[in-house]
Amino acid sequence: MKKFWQLPNKTFLIWFLRFLFGFSLITFTLIYLDFFVAAYILAGIAGIALIYLLLFLLSYKIELRSKFLMIEKGIIFRITLLIPYKKIVYIKRLKTPLLKAFGLLGACIKTVNGTVFILEQEAEFISLLLKKIEEKEN
Protein backbone atom coordinates (compact mmCIF):
# COMPACT_ATOMS: atom_id res chain seq x y z
CA MET A 1 0.00 0.00 0.00
CA LYS A 2 1.26 3.43 -0.95
CA LYS A 3 2.01 5.48 2.17
CA PHE A 4 3.52 8.60 0.77
CA TRP A 5 1.46 10.85 -1.52
CA GLN A 6 2.56 13.77 -3.65
CA LEU A 7 0.24 15.77 -5.85
CA PRO A 8 -0.57 14.10 -9.19
CA ASN A 9 0.38 15.87 -12.45
CA LYS A 10 -3.28 16.53 -13.15
CA THR A 11 -3.49 18.74 -10.05
CA PHE A 12 -0.67 20.91 -11.41
CA LEU A 13 -2.62 21.27 -14.66
CA ILE A 14 -5.83 22.18 -12.83
CA TRP A 15 -4.10 24.87 -10.78
CA PHE A 16 -2.38 26.20 -13.92
CA LEU A 17 -5.78 26.44 -15.66
CA ARG A 18 -7.31 28.21 -12.64
CA PHE A 19 -4.39 30.62 -12.51
CA LEU A 20 -4.57 31.31 -16.24
CA PHE A 21 -8.30 31.97 -16.06
CA GLY A 22 -7.99 34.43 -13.17
CA PHE A 23 -4.95 36.17 -14.64
CA SER A 24 -6.42 36.58 -18.12
CA LEU A 25 -9.72 37.85 -16.74
CA ILE A 26 -8.02 40.61 -14.75
CA THR A 27 -5.47 41.47 -17.47
CA PHE A 28 -8.07 41.75 -20.26
CA THR A 29 -10.26 43.90 -18.01
CA LEU A 30 -7.30 46.21 -17.33
CA ILE A 31 -6.41 46.40 -21.05
CA TYR A 32 -10.06 47.07 -21.91
CA LEU A 33 -10.05 49.94 -19.40
CA ASP A 34 -6.78 51.30 -20.91
CA PHE A 35 -4.70 50.63 -17.76
CA PHE A 36 -1.71 49.31 -19.70
CA VAL A 37 0.91 50.05 -17.04
CA ALA A 38 -1.12 48.19 -14.41
CA ALA A 39 -1.50 45.27 -16.81
CA TYR A 40 2.31 45.10 -17.30
CA ILE A 41 2.92 45.23 -13.53
CA LEU A 42 0.30 42.56 -13.00
CA ALA A 43 1.94 40.35 -15.62
CA GLY A 44 5.26 40.65 -13.76
CA ILE A 45 3.66 39.79 -10.40
CA ALA A 46 1.74 36.92 -11.99
CA GLY A 47 5.00 35.44 -13.32
CA ILE A 48 6.50 35.36 -9.82
CA ALA A 49 3.24 34.06 -8.35
CA LEU A 50 3.13 31.25 -10.91
CA ILE A 51 6.67 30.12 -9.97
CA TYR A 52 5.73 30.30 -6.27
CA LEU A 53 2.56 28.28 -6.89
CA LEU A 54 4.50 25.64 -8.81
CA LEU A 55 7.10 25.33 -6.03
CA PHE A 56 4.36 25.21 -3.38
CA LEU A 57 2.56 22.40 -5.19
CA LEU A 58 5.86 20.54 -5.56
CA SER A 59 6.52 20.84 -1.82
CA TYR A 60 3.08 19.47 -0.86
CA LYS A 61 3.30 15.96 0.59
CA ILE A 62 0.89 13.80 2.52
CA GLU A 63 1.86 10.75 4.52
CA LEU A 64 -0.54 8.22 5.99
CA ARG A 65 1.37 7.17 9.11
CA SER A 66 0.21 4.41 11.39
CA LYS A 67 -1.34 6.70 13.99
CA PHE A 68 -1.64 10.08 12.36
CA LEU A 69 -1.99 11.94 9.11
CA MET A 70 1.06 14.03 8.23
CA ILE A 71 0.82 16.97 5.82
CA GLU A 72 3.95 18.85 4.78
CA LYS A 73 3.84 22.08 2.80
CA GLY A 74 5.62 25.39 2.25
CA ILE A 75 8.68 26.73 0.49
CA ILE A 76 10.40 29.24 2.75
CA PHE A 77 8.59 28.24 5.94
CA ARG A 78 7.91 24.53 5.88
CA ILE A 79 4.86 23.56 7.91
CA THR A 80 4.23 20.00 9.07
CA LEU A 81 0.81 19.16 10.46
CA LEU A 82 0.39 15.98 12.49
CA ILE A 83 -3.26 15.15 12.98
CA PRO A 84 -4.16 12.00 14.96
CA TYR A 85 -6.81 9.94 13.13
CA LYS A 86 -8.86 9.83 16.31
CA LYS A 87 -9.21 13.60 16.27
CA ILE A 88 -10.72 13.72 12.76
CA VAL A 89 -14.44 14.41 13.09
CA TYR A 90 -15.46 14.08 9.45
CA ILE A 91 -14.19 14.42 5.89
CA LYS A 92 -15.97 16.53 3.31
CA ARG A 93 -15.31 15.49 -0.29
CA LEU A 94 -15.16 18.38 -2.75
CA LYS A 95 -16.09 17.71 -6.37
CA THR A 96 -16.35 20.36 -9.10
CA PRO A 97 -17.02 19.76 -12.83
CA LEU A 98 -13.32 20.48 -13.54
CA LEU A 99 -12.15 17.95 -10.92
CA LYS A 100 -14.68 15.43 -12.20
CA ALA A 101 -13.29 15.76 -15.71
CA PHE A 102 -9.78 14.99 -14.43
CA GLY A 103 -10.91 12.22 -12.08
CA LEU A 104 -9.64 13.94 -8.93
CA LEU A 105 -11.10 14.75 -5.53
CA GLY A 106 -10.52 17.61 -3.14
CA ALA A 107 -11.13 17.14 0.57
CA CYS A 108 -11.78 19.18 3.63
CA ILE A 109 -10.86 17.49 6.91
CA LYS A 110 -12.78 18.67 9.91
CA THR A 111 -10.79 18.02 13.07
CA VAL A 112 -11.46 19.04 16.64
CA ASN A 113 -8.83 21.70 16.05
CA GLY A 114 -10.44 23.28 12.99
CA THR A 115 -10.49 22.64 9.27
CA VAL A 116 -7.64 21.40 7.06
CA PHE A 117 -7.93 21.53 3.27
CA ILE A 118 -6.33 18.79 1.24
CA LEU A 119 -5.33 19.72 -2.28
CA GLU A 120 -6.74 17.68 -5.16
CA GLN A 121 -5.74 14.04 -4.93
CA GLU A 122 -6.72 10.81 -6.62
CA ALA A 123 -9.94 9.24 -5.30
CA GLU A 124 -7.90 6.29 -4.01
CA PHE A 125 -6.23 8.49 -1.39
CA ILE A 126 -9.50 9.66 0.12
CA SER A 127 -10.84 6.10 0.38
CA LEU A 128 -7.58 4.98 2.04
CA LEU A 129 -7.79 7.82 4.52
CA LEU A 130 -11.39 6.93 5.32
CA LYS A 131 -10.34 3.32 5.85
CA LYS A 132 -7.59 4.40 8.25
CA ILE A 133 -10.01 6.52 10.27
CA GLU A 134 -12.49 3.67 10.38
CA GLU A 135 -9.77 1.29 11.63
CA LYS A 136 -8.90 3.68 14.43
CA GLU A 137 -12.57 4.17 15.35
CA ASN A 138 -12.95 0.43 15.80
Binding site: K67, T80, L81, P84, V112
Partner: protein, 471 residues
Amino acid sequence: LKNVIKMHPLMFFIILKPYLLFGIVPSMYSVLNLFNVGKNSEFYYYQFFVLLCVLLLIEIKRKSLKIEVFEKFLVIKKGLYFNNESKMQSKITALYIKQNPIERLFSAKTVFINTMSDGKKNCEFKFVLNMKNAEILEEFIQRKADLRKKRIPFLKVMFWVAASSNIFEGVLLFTPLIRNVSKLLGIKVYDTIFSQITDKLRFTDKYLPTTVNMITVLFVFIYFVGFLYELLKNLKMQLRFDEKSISVKSGVIVKRKTILNSCIKIGFCAEQSILMRIAGRQAVKAITGGYVGKFSGAALVLPSQTDEELKNSLGDLFADYIPPKSYIEKKKAIFGIFSAILLPVFLSLALIITATILILIFNQFKRFIIFALLGFVFLLALYVYILFYGYKNSRISLEKNITAEGTRRFKIKRMLLRNDRIACFKLRQNLFDRKRGSCKVTLTAYSKGVEKTTIRWINKTELIKNIEKVE
Protein backbone atom coordinates in the same frame (compact mmCIF):
# COMPACT_ATOMS: atom_id res chain seq x y z
CA LEU B 1 -37.21 13.11 33.36
CA LYS B 2 -36.03 14.82 36.51
CA ASN B 3 -36.77 18.51 36.02
CA VAL B 4 -38.19 20.98 33.52
CA ILE B 5 -36.53 24.38 33.64
CA LYS B 6 -38.37 27.46 32.37
CA MET B 7 -36.93 30.86 31.59
CA HIS B 8 -36.86 33.85 33.93
CA PRO B 9 -38.79 36.97 32.71
CA LEU B 10 -35.44 38.78 32.28
CA MET B 11 -34.71 36.37 29.41
CA PHE B 12 -37.08 38.59 27.40
CA PHE B 13 -34.33 41.24 27.13
CA ILE B 14 -31.74 38.71 25.97
CA ILE B 15 -34.02 37.66 23.09
CA LEU B 16 -34.88 41.30 22.41
CA LYS B 17 -31.24 42.34 21.95
CA PRO B 18 -30.77 41.33 18.26
CA TYR B 19 -34.00 43.12 17.23
CA LEU B 20 -33.12 46.28 19.09
CA LEU B 21 -31.32 48.20 16.36
CA PHE B 22 -33.59 47.54 13.37
CA GLY B 23 -36.89 46.52 14.95
CA ILE B 24 -37.37 48.30 18.24
CA VAL B 25 -35.53 51.62 18.10
CA PRO B 26 -37.18 52.83 14.80
CA SER B 27 -40.63 51.87 16.17
CA MET B 28 -40.02 53.79 19.40
CA TYR B 29 -40.20 57.02 17.37
CA SER B 30 -43.77 56.21 16.38
CA VAL B 31 -44.69 55.31 19.96
CA LEU B 32 -43.41 58.67 21.17
CA ASN B 33 -45.35 60.43 18.41
CA LEU B 34 -48.57 58.66 19.43
CA PHE B 35 -48.59 60.72 22.62
CA ASN B 36 -48.11 63.88 20.60
CA VAL B 37 -51.78 64.49 19.65
CA GLY B 38 -51.23 66.86 16.75
CA LYS B 39 -48.92 64.48 14.91
CA ASN B 40 -51.04 61.31 14.95
CA SER B 41 -51.27 59.51 11.66
CA GLU B 42 -52.14 56.04 10.36
CA PHE B 43 -48.48 55.34 9.72
CA TYR B 44 -47.64 55.72 13.40
CA TYR B 45 -50.51 53.37 14.38
CA TYR B 46 -49.19 50.82 11.89
CA GLN B 47 -45.65 51.06 13.32
CA PHE B 48 -46.99 50.78 16.85
CA PHE B 49 -48.90 47.65 15.83
CA VAL B 50 -45.70 46.14 14.33
CA LEU B 51 -43.82 46.89 17.54
CA LEU B 52 -46.48 45.16 19.62
CA CYS B 53 -46.35 42.11 17.33
CA VAL B 54 -42.56 41.90 17.64
CA LEU B 55 -42.74 42.15 21.43
CA LEU B 56 -45.46 39.50 21.52
CA LEU B 57 -43.41 37.16 19.34
CA ILE B 58 -40.40 37.63 21.62
CA GLU B 59 -42.54 36.78 24.65
CA ILE B 60 -43.85 33.65 22.88
CA LYS B 61 -40.28 32.69 22.06
CA ARG B 62 -39.29 33.13 25.71
CA LYS B 63 -42.23 31.05 26.90
CA SER B 64 -41.45 28.27 24.43
CA LEU B 65 -37.84 27.94 25.61
CA LYS B 66 -37.29 25.19 28.13
CA ILE B 67 -34.62 22.82 29.34
CA GLU B 68 -35.45 19.26 30.28
CA VAL B 69 -32.97 17.73 32.70
CA PHE B 70 -32.71 13.95 32.58
CA GLU B 71 -30.44 11.68 34.61
CA LYS B 72 -27.61 11.68 32.07
CA PHE B 73 -28.49 14.29 29.45
CA LEU B 74 -30.11 17.65 28.79
CA VAL B 75 -32.74 18.48 26.16
CA ILE B 76 -33.11 22.11 25.11
CA LYS B 77 -36.42 22.86 23.39
CA LYS B 78 -37.13 25.98 21.34
CA GLY B 79 -40.10 27.23 19.26
CA LEU B 80 -43.81 26.60 19.18
CA TYR B 81 -44.53 25.79 15.52
CA PHE B 82 -41.01 25.00 14.37
CA ASN B 83 -39.76 22.82 17.16
CA ASN B 84 -36.06 22.74 17.66
CA GLU B 85 -34.63 20.18 20.04
CA SER B 86 -31.00 19.85 21.11
CA LYS B 87 -30.00 16.82 23.08
CA MET B 88 -26.70 16.98 24.94
CA GLN B 89 -25.12 14.11 26.73
CA SER B 90 -21.65 14.16 28.15
CA LYS B 91 -20.32 16.70 25.65
CA ILE B 92 -20.93 19.75 27.83
CA THR B 93 -17.50 21.13 28.58
CA ALA B 94 -18.30 24.13 30.68
CA LEU B 95 -21.00 26.04 32.43
CA TYR B 96 -20.46 29.72 33.09
CA ILE B 97 -22.79 31.47 35.52
CA LYS B 98 -22.90 35.21 36.01
CA GLN B 99 -24.99 37.40 38.28
CA ASN B 100 -24.89 41.19 38.11
CA PRO B 101 -26.59 43.46 40.71
CA ILE B 102 -29.78 43.87 38.59
CA GLU B 103 -30.11 40.11 38.23
CA ARG B 104 -29.52 39.75 41.99
CA LEU B 105 -32.42 42.14 42.59
CA PHE B 106 -34.73 39.90 40.53
CA SER B 107 -33.11 36.70 41.90
CA ALA B 108 -31.95 35.58 38.46
CA LYS B 109 -28.70 34.25 36.99
CA THR B 110 -27.32 34.19 33.44
CA VAL B 111 -26.15 30.73 32.45
CA PHE B 112 -23.90 29.99 29.48
CA ILE B 113 -23.64 26.38 28.31
CA ASN B 114 -20.70 25.33 26.16
CA THR B 115 -20.08 22.10 24.32
CA MET B 116 -17.11 20.51 22.55
CA SER B 117 -17.91 22.06 19.16
CA ASP B 118 -15.31 24.40 17.71
CA GLY B 119 -14.84 27.63 15.88
CA LYS B 120 -17.70 29.65 17.31
CA LYS B 121 -16.84 32.90 18.95
CA ASN B 122 -20.00 33.03 21.03
CA CYS B 123 -21.26 30.49 23.49
CA GLU B 124 -23.59 27.74 22.44
CA PHE B 125 -26.56 28.53 24.69
CA LYS B 126 -27.32 31.50 26.89
CA PHE B 127 -30.25 31.56 29.29
CA VAL B 128 -31.51 33.68 32.16
CA LEU B 129 -32.85 31.39 34.87
CA ASN B 130 -34.03 31.85 38.40
CA MET B 131 -31.67 30.84 41.22
CA LYS B 132 -33.29 27.47 41.88
CA ASN B 133 -33.20 26.41 38.23
CA ALA B 134 -29.60 27.55 37.81
CA GLU B 135 -28.69 25.35 40.77
CA ILE B 136 -30.38 22.36 39.10
CA LEU B 137 -28.12 22.86 36.06
CA GLU B 138 -25.06 23.25 38.29
CA GLU B 139 -25.96 20.02 40.02
CA PHE B 140 -26.24 18.28 36.64
CA ILE B 141 -22.59 19.11 35.83
CA GLN B 142 -21.12 18.94 39.33
CA ARG B 143 -22.69 17.05 42.22
CA LYS B 144 -22.34 19.17 45.30
CA ALA B 145 -22.39 16.35 47.82
CA ASP B 146 -18.88 14.96 47.12
CA LEU B 147 -17.02 18.20 46.55
CA ARG B 148 -13.84 19.30 48.21
CA LYS B 149 -13.46 23.02 48.91
CA LYS B 150 -10.45 25.27 48.70
CA ARG B 151 -10.44 28.99 49.38
CA ILE B 152 -7.78 31.06 47.63
CA PRO B 153 -6.23 33.64 49.99
CA PHE B 154 -6.80 37.30 49.17
CA LEU B 155 -3.08 38.09 49.03
CA LYS B 156 -2.45 35.44 46.37
CA VAL B 157 -5.26 36.82 44.21
CA MET B 158 -3.97 40.35 44.64
CA PHE B 159 -0.43 39.34 43.72
CA TRP B 160 -1.65 37.57 40.58
CA VAL B 161 -3.76 40.56 39.54
CA ALA B 162 -0.86 42.96 40.13
CA ALA B 163 1.61 40.81 38.21
CA SER B 164 -0.58 40.01 35.25
CA SER B 165 -3.04 42.92 35.07
CA ASN B 166 -3.45 43.73 31.42
CA ILE B 167 -2.83 47.36 30.72
CA PHE B 168 -4.98 47.25 27.58
CA GLU B 169 -8.03 46.25 29.58
CA GLY B 170 -7.58 49.50 31.44
CA VAL B 171 -7.33 51.36 28.14
CA LEU B 172 -10.47 49.65 26.88
CA LEU B 173 -12.42 50.63 29.97
CA PHE B 174 -10.98 54.07 30.48
CA THR B 175 -10.87 55.61 26.97
CA PRO B 176 -14.50 55.20 25.78
CA LEU B 177 -15.84 56.11 29.22
CA ILE B 178 -13.99 59.42 29.40
CA ARG B 179 -14.69 60.22 25.75
CA ASN B 180 -18.44 59.66 26.01
CA VAL B 181 -18.82 61.53 29.27
CA SER B 182 -16.83 64.48 27.95
CA LYS B 183 -18.91 64.50 24.74
CA LEU B 184 -22.13 64.54 26.76
CA LEU B 185 -20.96 67.36 29.01
CA GLY B 186 -19.30 69.29 26.21
CA ILE B 187 -15.98 69.51 28.05
CA LYS B 188 -12.59 69.05 26.47
CA VAL B 189 -11.60 66.45 29.06
CA TYR B 190 -8.42 65.21 27.40
CA ASP B 191 -7.05 68.74 27.03
CA THR B 192 -7.86 69.42 30.69
CA ILE B 193 -6.24 66.16 31.86
CA PHE B 194 -3.11 66.76 29.78
CA SER B 195 -2.73 70.35 31.00
CA GLN B 196 -3.28 69.25 34.62
CA ILE B 197 -0.65 66.51 34.33
CA THR B 198 1.81 68.87 32.67
CA ASP B 199 1.31 71.44 35.44
CA LYS B 200 1.74 68.90 38.22
CA LEU B 201 4.87 67.37 36.71
CA ARG B 202 6.64 70.57 35.83
CA PHE B 203 9.26 69.96 38.56
CA THR B 204 10.43 66.76 36.78
CA ASP B 205 10.93 68.53 33.45
CA LYS B 206 14.64 68.97 34.02
CA TYR B 207 15.08 65.18 34.22
CA LEU B 208 12.66 63.92 31.56
CA PRO B 209 10.71 65.52 28.70
CA THR B 210 7.05 66.47 29.47
CA THR B 211 5.65 63.91 27.02
CA VAL B 212 7.47 61.06 28.78
CA ASN B 213 6.11 62.17 32.15
CA MET B 214 2.60 62.45 30.79
CA ILE B 215 2.66 59.01 29.17
CA THR B 216 4.04 57.46 32.40
CA VAL B 217 1.28 58.97 34.54
CA LEU B 218 -1.40 57.91 32.06
CA PHE B 219 -0.05 54.36 31.94
CA VAL B 220 0.07 54.13 35.72
CA PHE B 221 -3.52 55.36 35.88
CA ILE B 222 -4.67 52.90 33.20
CA TYR B 223 -2.80 50.09 34.97
CA PHE B 224 -4.57 51.01 38.19
CA VAL B 225 -8.01 50.89 36.49
CA GLY B 226 -7.13 47.47 34.98
CA PHE B 227 -5.86 46.27 38.37
CA LEU B 228 -9.02 47.36 40.19
CA TYR B 229 -11.29 45.77 37.56
CA GLU B 230 -9.44 42.44 37.67
CA LEU B 231 -9.29 42.49 41.48
CA LEU B 232 -13.05 42.98 41.80
CA LYS B 233 -13.55 40.22 39.24
CA ASN B 234 -11.40 37.72 41.13
CA LEU B 235 -11.98 38.58 44.80
CA LYS B 236 -13.38 35.88 47.10
CA MET B 237 -12.05 33.13 44.84
CA GLN B 238 -13.14 29.66 45.85
CA LEU B 239 -12.43 26.27 44.28
CA ARG B 240 -14.68 23.24 44.45
CA PHE B 241 -13.53 20.02 42.88
CA ASP B 242 -14.09 16.30 42.72
CA GLU B 243 -12.58 13.62 40.50
CA LYS B 244 -14.46 14.70 37.38
CA SER B 245 -15.09 18.41 37.57
CA ILE B 246 -13.81 21.64 38.96
CA SER B 247 -15.57 24.93 39.65
CA VAL B 248 -14.25 28.40 40.35
CA LYS B 249 -16.37 31.03 42.04
CA SER B 250 -15.31 34.67 42.33
CA GLY B 251 -16.40 38.29 42.16
CA VAL B 252 -17.92 40.91 44.41
CA ILE B 253 -20.15 43.20 42.35
CA VAL B 254 -20.67 40.77 39.49
CA LYS B 255 -20.51 37.21 40.78
CA ARG B 256 -19.08 34.61 38.43
CA LYS B 257 -18.82 30.87 38.51
CA THR B 258 -17.18 28.62 35.94
CA ILE B 259 -17.75 24.89 36.13
CA LEU B 260 -15.46 22.82 33.92
CA ASN B 261 -16.74 19.37 33.23
CA SER B 262 -14.21 16.50 33.19
CA CYS B 263 -11.41 19.02 33.06
CA ILE B 264 -9.13 16.82 35.10
CA LYS B 265 -8.88 14.53 32.10
CA ILE B 266 -7.95 17.45 29.91
CA GLY B 267 -5.20 19.30 31.60
CA PHE B 268 -3.61 22.30 33.18
CA CYS B 269 -1.63 25.23 31.95
CA ALA B 270 0.73 27.25 34.12
CA GLU B 271 1.56 30.79 33.09
CA GLN B 272 4.39 32.90 34.39
CA SER B 273 4.73 36.57 33.57
CA ILE B 274 8.08 38.27 34.15
CA LEU B 275 7.00 39.71 37.53
CA MET B 276 5.78 36.30 38.66
CA ARG B 277 9.05 34.73 37.54
CA ILE B 278 10.98 37.16 39.70
CA ALA B 279 8.77 36.19 42.65
CA GLY B 280 9.10 32.48 41.76
CA ARG B 281 5.36 31.98 41.33
CA GLN B 282 2.98 30.87 38.60
CA ALA B 283 -0.72 31.03 37.76
CA VAL B 284 -2.44 27.76 36.92
CA LYS B 285 -5.43 27.44 34.59
CA ALA B 286 -7.60 24.37 34.13
CA ILE B 287 -8.39 23.83 30.44
CA THR B 288 -11.15 21.95 28.74
CA GLY B 289 -12.56 21.45 25.23
CA GLY B 290 -14.80 23.73 23.23
CA TYR B 291 -14.00 27.22 22.11
CA VAL B 292 -12.35 29.60 24.49
CA GLY B 293 -14.15 32.83 24.35
CA LYS B 294 -14.76 35.24 27.10
CA PHE B 295 -16.73 32.77 29.11
CA SER B 296 -15.35 29.31 29.34
CA GLY B 297 -12.98 26.61 28.19
CA ALA B 298 -10.33 27.71 30.63
CA ALA B 299 -10.51 29.00 34.16
CA LEU B 300 -7.90 30.30 36.52
CA VAL B 301 -7.77 27.85 39.41
CA LEU B 302 -4.59 28.64 41.31
CA PRO B 303 -3.56 32.28 40.96
CA SER B 304 -0.09 32.37 42.47
CA GLN B 305 1.73 29.19 43.39
CA THR B 306 5.33 28.41 44.14
CA ASP B 307 6.79 25.27 42.52
CA GLU B 308 6.40 23.27 45.71
CA GLU B 309 2.84 24.42 46.34
CA LEU B 310 2.03 23.54 42.74
CA LYS B 311 3.38 20.00 43.13
CA ASN B 312 1.11 19.42 46.12
CA SER B 313 -1.94 21.01 44.50
CA LEU B 314 -1.48 19.09 41.25
CA GLY B 315 -1.61 15.85 43.17
CA ASP B 316 -5.12 16.84 44.28
CA LEU B 317 -6.35 18.20 40.97
CA PHE B 318 -4.58 16.04 38.38
CA ALA B 319 -4.89 12.49 39.62
CA ASP B 320 -2.87 10.92 36.75
CA TYR B 321 0.05 13.31 37.05
CA ILE B 322 3.47 11.71 36.66
CA PRO B 323 6.48 14.06 36.46
CA PRO B 324 8.46 13.69 33.19
CA LYS B 325 11.65 11.59 33.28
CA SER B 326 13.38 13.15 30.28
CA TYR B 327 12.93 15.83 27.66
CA ILE B 328 13.48 15.75 23.88
CA GLU B 329 16.97 16.96 23.00
CA LYS B 330 17.63 20.36 21.51
CA LYS B 331 21.42 20.13 21.25
CA LYS B 332 21.77 21.80 17.89
CA ALA B 333 19.41 24.56 18.87
CA ILE B 334 22.04 26.96 20.17
CA PHE B 335 23.06 27.54 16.52
CA GLY B 336 19.45 28.51 15.90
CA ILE B 337 19.92 31.57 18.02
CA PHE B 338 22.95 32.66 16.04
CA SER B 339 21.15 32.17 12.74
CA ALA B 340 18.14 34.06 14.08
CA ILE B 341 20.21 37.07 15.09
CA LEU B 342 22.29 37.06 11.92
CA LEU B 343 19.92 39.30 9.97
CA PRO B 344 19.40 41.89 12.76
CA VAL B 345 23.18 42.04 13.31
CA PHE B 346 23.77 42.76 9.62
CA LEU B 347 21.01 45.34 9.74
CA SER B 348 22.50 47.05 12.77
CA LEU B 349 25.95 47.10 11.15
CA ALA B 350 24.45 48.73 8.06
CA LEU B 351 22.71 51.22 10.33
CA ILE B 352 25.91 52.09 12.22
CA ILE B 353 27.72 52.72 8.94
CA THR B 354 24.85 54.85 7.65
CA ALA B 355 24.72 56.77 10.94
CA THR B 356 28.46 57.49 10.84
CA ILE B 357 28.20 58.77 7.27
CA LEU B 358 25.18 60.90 8.22
CA ILE B 359 27.02 62.38 11.21
CA LEU B 360 29.94 63.27 8.96
CA ILE B 361 27.72 64.91 6.34
CA PHE B 362 25.07 66.66 8.55
CA ASN B 363 26.79 67.83 11.65
CA GLN B 364 23.62 69.18 13.34
CA PHE B 365 21.67 65.85 13.68
CA LYS B 366 24.44 64.22 15.72
CA ARG B 367 22.43 63.82 18.99
CA PHE B 368 19.33 62.47 17.29
CA ILE B 369 21.27 59.93 15.21
CA ILE B 370 23.16 58.65 18.27
CA PHE B 371 19.90 58.43 20.26
CA ALA B 372 18.16 56.47 17.46
CA LEU B 373 21.17 54.17 17.09
CA LEU B 374 21.31 53.47 20.82
CA GLY B 375 17.59 52.68 20.79
CA PHE B 376 18.05 50.21 17.95
CA VAL B 377 21.01 48.51 19.65
CA PHE B 378 18.96 48.23 22.85
CA LEU B 379 16.09 46.60 20.92
CA LEU B 380 18.51 44.18 19.27
CA ALA B 381 20.02 43.23 22.63
CA LEU B 382 16.49 42.67 23.97
CA TYR B 383 15.66 40.45 21.00
CA VAL B 384 18.80 38.35 21.53
CA TYR B 385 18.03 38.06 25.23
CA ILE B 386 14.46 36.91 24.45
CA LEU B 387 15.90 34.24 22.12
CA PHE B 388 18.27 32.92 24.80
CA TYR B 389 15.49 33.11 27.37
CA GLY B 390 13.27 31.06 25.04
CA TYR B 391 16.04 28.52 24.48
CA LYS B 392 16.68 28.14 28.20
CA ASN B 393 13.05 27.83 29.21
CA SER B 394 11.44 25.76 26.46
CA ARG B 395 11.33 21.98 26.45
CA ILE B 396 8.95 19.14 25.71
CA SER B 397 8.45 15.65 27.04
CA LEU B 398 6.08 13.14 25.44
CA GLU B 399 5.59 10.39 27.96
CA LYS B 400 2.42 9.25 29.69
CA ASN B 401 1.50 12.90 30.15
CA ILE B 402 2.62 15.60 27.79
CA THR B 403 4.64 18.28 29.51
CA ALA B 404 5.47 21.25 27.34
CA GLU B 405 7.15 24.47 28.34
CA GLY B 406 7.20 27.33 25.88
CA THR B 407 7.89 31.04 25.98
CA ARG B 408 6.27 34.06 24.46
CA ARG B 409 8.48 37.09 24.93
CA PHE B 410 9.11 36.96 28.70
CA LYS B 411 6.06 34.89 29.52
CA ILE B 412 6.56 31.19 30.23
CA LYS B 413 3.73 28.78 29.59
CA ARG B 414 3.77 25.20 30.88
CA MET B 415 1.19 22.73 29.68
CA LEU B 416 0.32 19.50 31.36
CA LEU B 417 -1.96 17.24 29.39
CA ARG B 418 -2.95 13.65 28.98
CA ASN B 419 -1.47 12.53 25.68
CA ASP B 420 -4.84 11.80 24.05
CA ARG B 421 -5.91 15.39 24.55
CA ILE B 422 -3.65 16.84 21.90
CA ALA B 423 -5.67 17.87 18.87
CA CYS B 424 -2.82 18.83 16.56
CA PHE B 425 0.95 19.19 16.38
CA LYS B 426 2.08 21.95 14.07
CA LEU B 427 5.77 21.92 13.20
CA ARG B 428 7.24 24.98 11.51
CA GLN B 429 10.67 25.11 9.88
CA ASN B 430 12.47 28.06 8.33
CA LEU B 431 15.44 27.68 5.96
CA PHE B 432 17.99 27.51 8.81
CA ASP B 433 15.86 25.01 10.72
CA ARG B 434 15.69 22.76 7.68
CA LYS B 435 19.47 22.72 7.44
CA ARG B 436 19.85 21.80 11.10
CA GLY B 437 16.85 19.47 11.28
CA SER B 438 15.25 21.41 14.06
CA CYS B 439 11.72 22.83 14.20
CA LYS B 440 9.31 24.99 16.15
CA VAL B 441 6.37 22.99 17.48
CA THR B 442 2.96 24.34 18.48
CA LEU B 443 0.73 22.14 20.62
CA THR B 444 -2.99 22.72 20.60
CA ALA B 445 -5.02 21.18 23.37
CA TYR B 446 -8.25 19.60 22.26
CA SER B 447 -9.96 22.17 20.08
CA LYS B 448 -9.68 25.49 18.32
CA GLY B 449 -8.83 28.44 20.45
CA VAL B 450 -7.96 26.37 23.51
CA GLU B 451 -4.58 27.05 25.09
CA LYS B 452 -1.58 26.69 22.82
CA THR B 453 2.11 26.65 23.52
CA THR B 454 5.10 26.90 21.19
CA ILE B 455 8.51 25.30 21.76
CA ARG B 456 11.39 26.25 19.50
CA TRP B 457 14.49 24.45 18.26
CA ILE B 458 13.37 20.89 18.85
CA ASN B 459 14.90 18.04 16.85
CA LYS B 460 12.23 17.25 14.25
CA THR B 461 12.98 13.57 13.59
CA GLU B 462 13.14 12.75 17.27
CA LEU B 463 9.94 14.66 17.93
CA ILE B 464 7.98 12.79 15.24
CA LYS B 465 9.35 9.48 16.53
CA ASN B 466 8.20 10.37 20.05
CA ILE B 467 4.77 11.52 18.90
CA GLU B 468 4.29 8.18 17.15
CA LYS B 469 5.18 6.31 20.33
CA VAL B 470 2.83 8.38 22.49
CA GLU B 471 -0.20 8.38 20.24
